[in-house]
């Protein structure tokens, strides 16, 4: 044997190389569904001991599960699906992760590169299709590019403003052979996210915050991405500033703290919306000012100076005029601000602060009113009971989209980040259950609840079988009101009670549970809730709880779309409409 032969590494197929690349990235759990174009990778997986693959029942669920995984771990979730329909089924999941900025790397099979563009069997232009709903995407044309592309994909997904990256893998790339070498470095001259906030801007921001008489902090999802919650809490407490969170920022500020205003926005707390509307300085961290937060843009914080911290320059001054923009990673920026404050050169008027907090407290009596008399099972009651039962456990709550989602955001008093998993930007029904599966896989000791509506749960209900296969003990609580509740709510108020296509039927969830071989429980009265929850939590396996609730309950507070956020409806009674001060 010559020296050359000894040092020369063995040639490897693209499929084998693919798994080696995943190992280099530290990936040990992936979600997927096989198919023709991706078969060579599945053949390698068959022999692979280091990577566990979770077979779902629909590709969309694989992507949502990977996002649930990413939300709990902070690391990229990995998805493997085939070409054509496998790839197009994944698109909703990709878009969902894009809008909420969670890192994913989605690998899709592709037909042989010589067939691309020929309308071959199971061909779809997934790179073209996902171009506007992912952070970046690649079509790998040569095996020699594969290691670099995978390294870049993980890097892009997990840095800057995180997001999904799609990699399309033609079949011939997976079958051709080459020696394997994983690149050490990344060379992306066009991609340099700015992590360090400008120190002068940070100082200006701190000065403004100290001069403020009525300051408010908004904490968004970016605080979770950058893991900046401790710094944010520290700053709020040191400067005595109340904190409202967006839906995506829930958990970044403990709701049992006296400075917590809870969630703001369309279904946010009355006092949170009023505080933001009446503040003189708004310190917004890691939020892109979605319309569900701002309401009518022209009237949002119209008298306030706005400081905006975001890693994405595009978010700044896109919707809301910003006086002090700070482009950077929230954790780094807040650290600089805190350091600066520790010099002792900055002082604020604490008496003024306490007056402001007192004023906000005076708004706190304006609570939403239940529409329907007592005696019937209220959806809100169910969620409050789930909170009481699980608050001292290590609980992760995943929701679907709709009324139950807003009630969960309002009534479950989240005290830590990464505890609520919910689809914010895209608002994807059917997200919660597969995301709960991913969350449970990421944190096997956690108690994972999927609070669902009867509409949403039926969008990905097939995944119960995935739970059964892998013994994933997700507890599904279906808030079953027989309607697509949120849409029905809009129809009741805005469309003369024309309940067009919103009544929705369900299968018998208890029998369905039986068919899948899991535990099914039906709850129709308030006094059955606790017993059912105890049983579900104690049960070693997945559970579906069918909470049959009052159908005509509404989510309040409610700011109608396009209205300013201080015009708040608190109940069915029009006398309760908040005037806004």
């Amino acid at each position: 044997m010559t020296a050359e032969q000894i040092t020369k590494p063995d040639k490897m197929t693209g499929a084998a190389m693919f798994l080696e690349c995943l190992k280099k990235e530290g990936v040990d759990e992936i979600f997927g569904y096989p198919g023709g174009a991706i078969l060579h990778i599945y053949d390698e997986l068959y022999k692979c001991k280091d990577i566990k693959h979770y077979l779902v029942r629909h590709e969309q669920a694989a992507v949502h599960a990977a996002e649930g995984y990413a939300r709990v771990t902070g690391k990229a979730g990995v998805v493997l699906v085939t070409s054509g329909p496998g790839a197009t089924n994944a698109v909703t999941g990709i878009a969902n992760a894009y809008y909420d900025s969670y890192p994913l790397v989605v690998f899709t099979g592709q037909v042989d590169s010589k067939l691309i563009g020929n309308d071959a069997f199971q061909e779809a232009d997934i790179v073209g299709i996902t171009r506007t709903c992912c952070k970046h995407n690649y079509l790998v044309k040569n095996l020699s590019d594969l290691p670099r592309v995978i390294k870049e994909a993980f890097h892009i997904a997990q840095t800057g403003k995180p997001g999904p990256v799609v990699v399309s893998l033609p079949k011939d790339v997976l079958t051709s052979k080459m020696s394997f070498e994983y690149p050490e470095r990344i060379n992306l001259p066009g991609y340099n996210p700015n992590y360090e906030g400008h120190p002068i801007q940070c100082r200006r921001a701190l000065k403004l915050l100290c001069e403020a008489q009525r300051p408010v902090i908004i904490s968004g999802g970016g605080v979770i991405h950058s893991e900046a919650w401790l710094e944010l809490q520290d700053l709020a407490k040191k400067l005595n500033i109340p904190v409202a969170t967006t839906l995506m920022g829930i958990g970044t500020f403990p709701q049992d703290n006296e400075l917590s205003l809870g969630m703001l926005g369309m279904h946010g707390n009355y006092w949170a919306n009023l505080a933001v509307s009446n503040c003189d300085v708004l310190f917004a961290v890691g939020t892109r000012f979605n319309d569900r937060i701002t309401g009518c843009l022209k009237r949002f914080c119209k008298d306030a100076k706005v400081i905006h911290v975001d890693i994405d320059p595009c978010s700044i001054s896109k919707n809301v005029h910003v006086d002090i923009p700070i482009v950077g990673n929230a954790k780094n920026v807040l650290k600089v601000v805190l350091n600066e404050y520790s010099t002792g050169e900055y002082k604020y008027d604490n008496q003024m602060r306490n007056m402001w907090i007192k004023q906000i407290d005076s708004w706190k009596s304006n609570k939403p009113v239940y529409a329907v008399p007592e005696g019937i099972l209220h959806p809100q009651t169910v969620i409050s009971h789930i909170y009481q039962k699980t608050k001292n456990m290590k609980t992760v709550i995943a929701t679907e989209v709709g009324q139950h989602q807003m009630w969960t955001a309002q009534l479950y008093k989240f005290n830590r980040p990464r505890q609520l998993i919910t689809s914010g930007g895209l608002g994807t029904m059917g997200f919660g259950f597969p995301a709960a599966i991913g969350a449970q896989i990421a944190d096997k000791d956690a108690l994972v609840f999927n609070i669902a509506g009867d509409g949403s749960i039926q969008m990905n209900i097939q995944e119960i079988m995935t739970c059964v296969d892998y013994k994933i003990p997700v507890k599904i609580a279906v808030i079953n009101n027989g309607y697509l509740g949120m849409v029905r709510q809009w129809q009741e108020k805005l469309f003369d009670k024309h309940y067009s296509q919103t009544p929705i039927t369900s299968p018998d969830y208890v029998k369905l549970a039986d068919a899948y071989g899991i535990l099914g429980l039906r709850i129709t009265e308030e006094n059955q809730i606790d017993e059912a929850l105890d049983k579900a939590i104690a049960y070693d396996g997945p559970v579906i709880m069918d909470f049959v609730v009052e159908p005509f309950e509404m989510v309040y507070p409610w700011v109608l779309a396009g209205k300013p956020i201080n015009e708040i409806i608190l109940s069915n009674n029009s006398d309760d409409e908040g005037k806004g001060e």
């Binding site: 171009r131 506007t132 970046h136 992306l188 001259p189 066009g190 994405d312 320059p313 595009c314």
Partner: protein
């Protein structure tokens, strides 16, 4: 208000689609767009003429910058002291009888070239700034423009200003 944006990108398939998709999904306008490789073949330069107020232009530049394969995005200065812009046109004009002489005279005034001749047409090649192009076309139009091809605008900054790859 018209703005010219120069974008340096990696010369890779899909990048032009990314740029165009960005404009269409975000509702920005493209008045003209030209693209070709730079002196270094692994990069291309795109020149986009667009319109919008300052907020829109700021968003366009930020959004273009956000694309992974864009290296540099520069809004070119509007002043002719700082930036030169040119457009190439090829224009086939009906040229019969007296008009043949008239067209030649116009071409001479503008320094345009006749690059193809037939018994009934002249094909004119001209490059100049937007104002010159518009004026020339206004003069040719009454004579009967049969076909017009415009390259879209390209632009470069004057003197010691460069938009290049930082090495």
């Amino acid at each position: 208000m018209k703005h010219t944006i120069s974008v340096l990108v990696k010369n890779e398939p899909g990048i032009l689609s990314s740029v165009c998709d960005l404009f269409s999904t975000r509702g920005f306008n493209i008045e003209s767009l030209t693209v070709a490789a730079t002196i270094d073949n692994s990069f291309s330069r795109i020149t986009i003429v667009t319109n919008g107020d300052d907020v829109v232009i700021e968003q366009i530049c930020k959004q273009l910058n956000r694309l992974i394969n864009t290296i540099k995005v520069v809004e070119l200065p509007k002043s002719a002291d700082k930036c030169i812009d040119r457009e190439l046109i090829l224009c086939k004009v009906t040229a019969k009888d007296d008009a043949r002489n008239e067209i030649l005279r116009i071409a001479e005034i503008f320094g345009a070239k006749i690059i193809d001749v037939s018994t009934e047409t002249y094909t004119i090649e001209f490059s100049g700034d937007t104002r010159q192009v518009v004026t020339l076309l206004a003069l040719l139009k009454p004579l009967g423009v049969k076909e017009l091809v415009r390259s879209g605008m390209v632009a470069i900054t004057r003197e010691n200003q460069f938009i290049n790859i930082d090495r």
